[in-house]
C-alpha cells in the first residue's frame, strides 16, 4: 500500500525530487505529528498521509494548489494568522523546505497507518426538514377529552401525559396561597394585608379573574416582567473590562421595556422595535430607544486587536439576537459549522450581515459616543429646544463678534508684526499679549464678554433627551465575509444577508438605499421575518418564557436553546397551542398570562403527593405546582416593602443603594462608579438599581442575580452560607429589621402581641397561629430579661421573620 501511494505520488509529481519529500516528512514527523498524527488530533487535521492532508482540517483544506502561499499550512508555518508549530517558529531552512514542498504539490507518503473513519458526522441540513422546532407551529386543537371543571385547554393537554402515567393533578391551592403566588408572579411583591383581607372576603365567582386583572394593570407588573426580559438581553449599564465605564442613558431602554410590558405592547411589535425601531418608526422616541438592545453588551474600550474587538461586538449581537428571539445558538457557528444543529458557518455570517450597518459602540474611549447616543426628544419638545438652541447660538455669535471687534481695537495699538499675525493662525498668541496694550476698562469689558460666552457654552443642551441606542448607522456598509475559523484577519468568501437555512434560508430582498437613508435597511427585513407569525420559533420561544416564569420551568427547559443540544419539549402540543394562541390574541402577552393563570395547573397546590413524587420526582408532568425561592430582586424588594421603606417611584436614572466598604474594597478604586444615593432613592425597587458589571449589591448577588455578560435565560438557585451570613449579620437586613420594628411600634404602640402578629402577617400573609405568636412573645421576653431594650429585642425578632423560609419561599 505504502509503495503504491508513493508510486502514485511520484507518478503525479514526476519532477518532485524525492529528497524534498523526504526532508519534508522528517520535519513533519519531528514537529507536527504530536498533534496531527494518530493520537489526539488538533483541529481535525492529520498529516499522516496524502488522503488526510487532502481532506484538511475542521476548517477545510490546508493546501492551496493554485496559490500555495494562501494555503493555511503555508501561512501557519510562517506565523501568519495561525502560528504552527505553537512551540516556536521553524528555522528558516526548515520553512523553506516546507514551502518548496507545498509549492511542489505537497506529496506525502503514508507516514503512519491510519484508518479513515467514514465521513465525520456532520449536522445534515436535511435534519432541518424534520426537526420539530423548525417546523411551522401546528394548528393544534385542545384534546377532545373534556376540559376539567374550572380549568382550561392547558389542563386538557397536561392531563394526557398525567393520565398515561396514572397521575392526577393536585387539588387547587387555597385562596391565600394562590393570592401570594400570583401576586409575586405578576408584580414581584407580596400582597399587602389589606389586599389579602379584601381578596379572602370576595366570594364572587370571578374574584380570581378580578385579581388577575388588577395585578396585570398594576405598574409593578412591568417592573417584574421587564426584569425577566432584561435578563435575556444581558441588560447592564456599564461596559465591563478595565474601566467598566458607564453606558450613559441606558436607563431609557430599561424604562422602555417596563412601559412596553405595562402597555401590553404586542410582542411582535416589541421585537421589531428592538431590532429595527430606527428604520420602522424613526420619529418615535420609543422605537429609537428600543435599539438600545444592540448596545447593552460588554465593550472593550482599549482592545489589543481592534478588528477582533469589532467582531466580538458583532458576535454579542448575533448570539443575543438568535438566543433571545429564536432560541438558536447561532454563536456556535462563528468558527465552524454547528456541531449538531443544521447551522452552517455561513449562516452565522449571513445573519451578521443584517447588522453590518451598526457602527462600533464608540470609536475611541469616549463612552458618550455619537454612534451610541441618540436624540429621542419628543417632537414638540424638540421644536421648543431647537428654538432655544437657535437663540443661544445667535447670542454666542453676537458675543463672538463683539469680542473680536474689541480685540481688534486693541490689536491696532500693537507692533505691525503682531497686527499681521493676528490675521492668521497665530491670532491666539497675539491675543495673549493684549493685556499690555489694553485700557483697564477694555480689559474689564473683554473679561465680561468672555465670561458670558463661556457660560453659554457650558449650558447643557436644553431639554434634550438622549438614549443609549444605535446612531449614525452606515447606509452602505462594507461587504460581509465569512471569517475562516472565526478569525477576522482571515477573510473567506463574501456573503450577503440571509436567513438560516434551517428555517428555509433564502436571501431576502433588501430595499435600495436612497440618498436620505440613515441605515442599510436590512434590519427591518430581519425584524419583519423574526416577528412574522410564520416564523416557527419566535412565538414558541416567547410563550415558553412566559410558561417558564409562571410554572417554574419552560416546556423547553433550555429556553434559549431550542436546538438539539437543548431539551426536548415535555408537552410539544401544548407549546404549539400556546404559540398559536399568542398569535390569535394579537401577540398580546397579557392575554397569554390570563390563559396560563386561569388553568387549574397554575392554581393547584404545591403539596407533596407521595405516589406522584415516586413516579415523577422532578414534576415533569406537572402533577403539582412547583415551589420556588424568591428571585434576588423579589427578596430585596419584599424586605423593603415589609419594612415600609420601599419607594414606588418609577422610571428614570438608576439609583445606587449603599454597598458595605468591605465589598467596595474589591474594586481597583474603591467606590468608583458608585455614587451612593440618598435614602429615598436608594430604597426604590431593585429593577432601578444601577447594573454595574463589576459590582453588585450583596443582597442581590447572594440570591443569584443574573450574570450580565451574556444572555441569561434561567436563573440559578443556590443556597450558600454567604446568604445566611448576610441575612443575620449583613448591614442591609439589620437596618431593615430596625425599620420594621419601628413600623410595628408605631402601628401598634405598646401592644407586643399585636406587633408580633403584624410582623408575621406582613411576611407570610396568613393568620398567625397562637402558638407561634406565644413563642415569639416568649422570645422577646427572654431578650428583655437579658437586658435588651424592648425596641432592640423587637428588631432582633424582625430579623428572624425576614430570614424565615416562609418569607423567602412561595408555595
Amino acid at each position: 500500500m505504502l509503495a503504491h501511494i508513493v508510486f502514485l505520488c511520484l507518478f503525479q509529481q514526476p519532477d518532485t525530487p524525492a529528497s524534498l519529500q523526504k526532508q519534508a516528512v522528517e520535519i513533519i514527523e519531528k514537529n507536527c505529528l504530536k498533534c496531527h498524527g494518530t493520537g489526539k488530533i488538533r483541529g481535525g487535521l492529520r498529516l499522516t498521509d496524502k488522503k488526510s492532508l487532502a481532506m484538511g482540517g475542521e476548517t477545510g483544506p490546508v493546501i492551496d494548489v493554485k496559490n500555495p502561499a494562501s494555503g493555511l499550512l503555508w501561512k501557519a508555518i510562517e506565523y501568519d494568522e495561525l502560528q504552527m508549530p505553537p512551540s516556536g517558529k521553524l528555522s528558516d531552512t526548515d520553512r523553506k523546505i516546507l514551502r518548496d514542498w507545498i509549492s511542489a504539490g505537497a506529496p506525502l507518503p503514508d507516514i503512519k497507518a491510519v484508518a479513515h473513519p467514514a465521513e465525520p458526522v456532520k449536522p445534515k441540513l436535511e435534519d432541518a426538514k424534520t426537526y420539530w422546532a423548525y417546523q411551522p407551529v401546528k394548528a393544534v386543537k385542545p384534546p377532545a377529552s373534556s376540559i376539567p371543571d374550572g380549568g382550561n385547554p392547558i389542563d386538557a393537554f397536561l392531563q394526557i401525559r398525567l393520565g398515561k402515567a396514572g397521575l392526577v393533578m393536585n387539588p387547587q391551592a387555597d385562596k391565600r396561597v394562590l393570592l401570594r403566588r400570583v401576586t409575586y408572579d405578576l408584580t414581584g411583591l407580596p400582597p399587602s394585608p389589606a389586599q389579602v383581607e379584601a381578596y379572602l372576603k370576595d366570594t364572587s365567582p370571578d374574584a380570581y379573574t378580578h385579581l388577575v386583572d388588577r395585578l396585570l394593570a398594576s405598574p409593578a407588573y412591568g417592573e417584574r416582567w421587564g426584569r425577566h426580559w432584561l435578563d435575556v438581553v444581558r441588560y447592564a449599564e456599564t461596559n465591563g473590562y478595565e474601566r467598566d465605564g458607564p453606558k450613559p442613558n441606558a436607563f431609557r431602554y430599561r424604562d422602555y421595556v417596563i412601559r412596553s410590558f405595562n402597555a401590553d405592547k404586542p410582542y411582535n411589535q416589541f421585537v421589531r422595535e428592538q431590532l429595527a425601531g430606527d428604520e420602522i418608526d424613526p420619529d418615535n422616541g420609543d422605537a429609537l430607544t428600543a435599539t438600545g438592545f444592540y448596545r447593552l453588551g460588554i465593550w472593550d474600550d482599549e482592545p489589543a486587536d481592534r478588528l477582533q474587538a469589532t467582531f466580538d461586538e458583532y458576535d454579542d449581537i448575533v448570539a443575543t439576537t438568535a438566543q433571545a428571539f429564536l432560541g438558536m445558538t447561532m454563536n456556535c457557528a462563528r468558527c465552524h459549522d454547528h456541531k449538531i444543529d443544521p447551522i452552517p458557518q455561513s449562516d452565522y455570517y449571513r445573519l451578521l450581515a443584517f447588522f453590518a450597518d451598526i457602527p462600533r459602540f464608540s470609536n475611541d474611549r469616549n463612552v458618550m459616543s455619537s454612534t451610541s447616543q441618540r436624540d429621542v426628544t419628543p417632537k414638540a419638545k424638540r421644536m421648543a429646544y431647537e428654538k432655544e438652541l437657535e437663540e443661544r447660538n445667535r447670542q454666542k455669535e453676537a458675543l463672538a463678534t463683539a469680542i473680536i471687534a474689541l480685540e481688534d481695537t486693541i490689536i491696532k495699538r500693537m507692533p505691525a508684526e503682531d497686527q499681521r499675525a493676528s490675521e492668521g493662525l497665530d491670532r491666539p498668541l497675539v491675543v495673549k499679549k493684549l493685556k499690555d496694550f489694553q485700557k483697564p476698562e477694555e480689559g474689564k469689558e473683554l473679561r465680561n464678554l468672555r465670561q458670558q460666552r463661556d457660560r453659554l457654552e457650558k449650558l447643557p443642551t436644553p431639554s434634550q433627551e438622549l438614549a443609549l441606542a444605535i446612531n449614525q448607522c452606515n447606509p452602505r456598509p462594507p461587504a460581509t465575509h465569512l471569517l475562516v475559523r472565526g478569525n477576522p484577519h482571515s477573510r473567506g468568501p463574501e456573503v450577503s444577508a440571509g436567513f438560516p437555512v434551517a428555517l428555509g434560508g433564502g436571501t431576502p430582498v433588501i430595499p435600495d438605499v436612497g440618498p436620505q437613508s440613515r441605515s442599510a435597511g436590512r434590519r427591518k427585513v430581519l425584524a419583519d421575518w423574526v416577528a412574522s407569525p410564520d416564523n416557527p420559533l419566535t412565538a414558541r420561544v416567547w410563550v415558553n418564557r412566559l410558561w417558564q416564569h409562571h410554572m417554574g420551568r419552560g416546556i423547553v427547559s433550555s429556553s434559549n436553546d431550542f436546538g438539539k443540544f437543548g431539551t426536548a419539549p415535555t408537552h410539544p402540543e401544548l407549546l404549539d397551542w400556546l404559540a398559536g394562541e399568542l398569535i390569535r390574541q394579537g401577540w398580546h402577552t397579557k392575554s397569554l398570562h390570563r390563559v396560563i393563570l386561569h388553568s387549574n395547573a397554575y392554581r393547584m397546590s404545591s403539596q407533596v403527593n407521595p405516589q406522584a413524587l415516586a413516579k415523577d420526582p422532578s414534576n415533569h408532568l406537572y402533577w403539582r405546582y412547583p415551589m420556588r425561592r424568591l428571585a434576588a430582586e423579589e427578596v430585596r424588594d419584599s424586605i423593603l416593602r415589609v419594612s415600609g421603606r420601599l419607594q414606588s417611584e418609577m422610571h428614570g436614572p438608576s439609583v445606587y443603594p449603599p454597598i458595605p466598604r468591605e465589598v467596595l474594597a474589591g474594586q481597583s478604586v474603591p467606590g468608583s462608579g458608585w455614587p451612593t444615593s440618598t435614602d429615598d432613592q436608594a430604597n426604590r425597587r431593585s429593577v432601578y438599581v444601577h447594573v454595574k458589571r463589576s459590582l453588585q449589591l450583596p443582597v442581590l448577588a447572594h440570591h443569584d442575580q443574573a450574570d450580565t455578560d451574556t444572555s441569561c435565560p434561567v436563573r440559578h438557585t443556590t443556597t450558600v452560607p454567604s446568604q445566611a451570613l448576610g441575612m443575620i449579620n449583613g448591614q442591609f437586613n439589620n437596618e431593615q429589621a430596625g425599620f420594621l420594628a419601628r413600623r410595628l411600634e408605631s402601628e401598634h404602640p405598646g401592644d407586643t402581641r399585636a406587633q408580633v402578629r403584624r410582623a408575621l402577617w406582613l411576611t407570610t400573609q396568613r393568620e398567625p397561629m397562637p402558638s407561634e405568636v406565644d413563642a415569639d412573645i416568649a422570645y422577646l421576653g427572654e431578650l428583655v430579661r437579658r437586658g435588651l431594650a424592648p425596641g432592640e429585642a423587637l428588631r432582633q425578632l424582625c430579623l428572624t421573620d425576614l430570614a424565615a423560609n416562609e418569607f423567602i419561599y412561595l408555595d
Binding site: 489589543a304 427547559s557 436553546d561 431539551t567 463589576s694 459590582l695 438557585t717 450558600v720 443575620i728 428572624t800
Partner: protein, 485 residues
C-alpha cells in the same frame, strides 16, 4: 434521559458528571464539621441537584490537591527578575530596533533599558536569578521556570481576564471556579475558591477576575482577608451579642422547622435551614483559620510577618498555607492592587517599582515554599507565580527606566505538586522581547494546573450557550510536559 442529571435547565449536560456519572462523593472526616455548601442547589427548571461542591474523584492521577496562585498584578519584568539577559546590559541607553506592542501601541524600536539588577546563580541547579529576589533565589531547586509564555493582549483588563479565565472577554469562569467544578471542595466549612487582595485595593475589573461566569455562584471566588473579619458579613451586627445570636438562630430554626414540616420533600428548604447553622459555625471556624497565635515565632519569621515591610504579604502567604491544610482547593493572592505603581505596572521607574513589590513579597514567598516543604505539603500543593504579562526591553518614555507591557514573551514559575524543581524551559530572544523557543500560551499554564490536579484540560467541560465550554477553549491545550515530574 435521566432527569436527575439536569442542571439549571439551561442544558441537560451541565452537571452530567457531577450528579449522575458515577463519581461517588468521598466522605472526608476530621474536617470542620458540616458542609459549607448546603445540600441543595436547585436547577431553575425544578430539578433538585446535589451539592455542587461535593468532593469528586479526579479524572486521572492527581499530583496536587490545592493551588496557590501568587498573582503579580501589573506585569512584572522578566528581564529584571528571572529571565537573565546578559546581552541587554551593554545596550542600556542605546536605540535598538525591536518589535514591541504595549499600552503605547506597536513600535519598531526604542531606547534599551538594561536590566537594573545583577543576576547570580541560586540553588544546586545554579539558576541565574536577579538580586531583586535574594530569598527566592535560595529556593531555585524547588522551582520550574517557564520563560516562554505569550498571551493575546498587552492591556491589563483583558490580559487579566485571559490569565484568570482563559478568555479576553468577561463572562467565563475563573481557573479557581473550574478547579472547584472539577474536584469539588473537601472543606465543608470554607469556600473552595479564595481570593486575597492587595491592601491598596482590588485589581482592574475587580470581581470579574474571580467570577464563576456562566457557572453557578457556588464556584465563584470569595474574598478572604488575613485580618479580622476575614469574610464579608462575618462579624456580628451592631447590637448583637454571641448569646443573643444563638438565641435568634434557635428561634429562626423553630420557625423554619415548623414551615418545613408540611414540605418535607423539599430538600432546598432543609438546606437553607441548615445554612444558618453553617454560617454560625463559620463565625468561629473562619477566624480560627486566620488566628496565627498557634504558629511559632520561627514560622512568623519565615514569612516575614515580624517585619513591617513583609508583614502584610507574609500574613496572606501563611493564611494560604493554613487554608491548604484545611483542604481549600484554590487560593489566589494578589501582590499589587489599584493602579499605576501600587502594582507591578512599572511605566516610569522600574527600580523603585520592582524594589518595592519584590521587596514586599520575596521573603514571604520564599518562606511559603520552605514552610510547605518542611511540612510535607509542597508535594501536594501547586504554587504558581506570575502576572498577566511581562515587560519590554525598551523604555516607554524619553526619560526614565520604565518599561511598557509585553505579551509577546514573559516568565512565570511553578513549584510543588508534580512539578520538577530546578528546571527551566523555553526562552525569549536575547533581548527578552518575545518568546522564541518552546513557546507556551496562557492556556498551557491552565492545562498544566488542571493536569496536576488530575483533571483532563481537554475533557473538563461545562455545557453552556450551546457549546461544551472548556477552560482551554475548543482547540484544547497540553500541559507543559517538560516541567512535570
Amino acid at each position: 434521559m435521566d432527569e436527575s442529571r439536569q442542571f439549571c435547565g439551561r442544558t441537560r449536560r451541565d452537571f452530567l458528571w457531577n450528579t449522575g456519572a458515577g463519581f461517588p462523593a468521598i466522605a472526608l472526616s476530621g474536617l470542620l464539621g458540616d458542609q459549607f455548601f448546603a445540600k441543595a442547589t436547585r436547577a431553575a427548571d425544578g430539578t433538585p441537584l446535589g451539592n455542587p461542591l461535593a468532593p469528586k474523584k479526579p479524572m486521572g492521577e492527581a499530583k496536587a490537591k490545592s493551588v496557590i496562585f501568587l498573582f503579580m498584578y501589573g506585569g512584572p519584568s522578566h528581564m529584571d527578575t528571572f529571565d537573565y539577559k546578559p546581552a541587554l546590559y551593554p545596550l542600556d541607553g542605546k536605540t535598538i530596533p525591536v518589535k514591541t506592542f504595549g499600552r503605547g501601541g506597536h513600535r519598531a524600536g526604542g531606547r534599551a533599558v538594561g536590566p537594573k539588577w545583577q543576576f547570580k546563580p541560586g540553588g544546586q541547579c545554579g539558576k541565574m536569578i536577579s538580586d531583586v529576589f535574594p530569598n527566592l533565589r535560595e529556593r531555585a531547586d524547588d522551582i520550574a521556570f517557564i520563560h516562554s509564555f505569550h498571551a493575546e493582549s498587552p492591556i491589563h483588563g483583558s490580559a487579566m481576564l485571559m490569565m484568570n479565565s482563559g478568555r479576553l472577554l468577561s463572562g467565563h469562569p475563573a481557573l479557581g471556579s473550574w478547579v472547584n467544578y472539577g474536584l469539588g471542595s473537601v472543606n465543608e466549612n470554607m469556600p473552595g475558591f479564595v481570593v486575597m487582595l492587595d491592601k491598596t485595593g482590588g485589581p482592574i475589573s475587580g470581581a470579574k477576575n474571580w467570577s464563576s461566569g456562566y457557572m453557578p455562584a457556588a464556584y465563584q471566588g470569595n474574598i478572604l482577608r488575613a485580618t479580622t473579619p476575614s469574610i464579608n458579613d462575618l462579624s456580628l451586627a451592631p447590637g448583637m451579642t454571641p448569646a443573643n445570636q444563638r438565641h435568634l438562630l434557635d428561634r429562626l430554626a423553630e420557625k423554619n422547622q415548623a414551615h418545613h414540616l408540611s414540605r418535607v420533600d423539599n430538600s432546598e428548604l432543609a438546606a437553607r435551614l441548615s445554612s444558618f447553622e453553617l454560617a454560625y459555625r463559620m463565625q468561629s471556624t473562619a477566624p480560627q483559620v486566620a488566628d496565627f497565635s498557634q504558629e511559632d515565632a520561627r514560622t512568623h519569621a519565615m514569612y516575614g510577618i515580624d517585619r513591617p515591610r513583609t508583614e502584610d504579604f507574609g500574613r496572606k502567604c501563611l493564611l494560604a498555607r493554613r487554608l491548604v491544610e484545611r483542604g481549600v482547593r484554590f487560593i489566589q493572592i494578589y501582590s499589587g492592587g489599584a493602579h499605576n505603581d501600587d502594582n507591578w505596572d512599572a511605566h516610569s521607574d522600574i527600580v523603585s517599582n520592582h524594589s518595592k513589590h519584590a521587596g514586599n513579597t520575596d521573603l514571604p514567598i520564599a518562606g511559603l515554599l520552605a514552610d510547605l516543604k518542611r511540612r510535607g505539603l509542597l508535594d501536594s500543593t501547586l504554587v504558581v507565580w506570575g502576572g498577566e504579562f511581562g515587560r519590554q526591553p525598551t523604555a516607554e518614555y524619553a526619560q526614565g527606566s520604565g518599561r511598557d507591557h509585553n505579551a509577546y514573551g514573559f516568565t512565570m514559575w511553578m513549584a510543588g505538586g508534580g512539578i520538577k524543581g530546578g528546571t527551566s524551559v523555553g526562552a525569549t530572544d536575547e533581548l527578552g522581547a518575545a518568546a522564541v523557543e518552546d513557546r507556551f500560551h496562557v492556556k498551557n499554564l491552565h492545562a498544566t494546573v488542571l493536569n496536576r490536579l488530575g483533571l483532563d484540560p481537554n475533557n473538563l467541560s461545562y455545557f453552556y450557550g450551546g457549546l461544551d465550554q472548556k477552560l482551554v477553549g475548543v482547540e484544547g491545550a497540553d500541559p507543559i510536559r517538560k516541567i512535570l515530574v
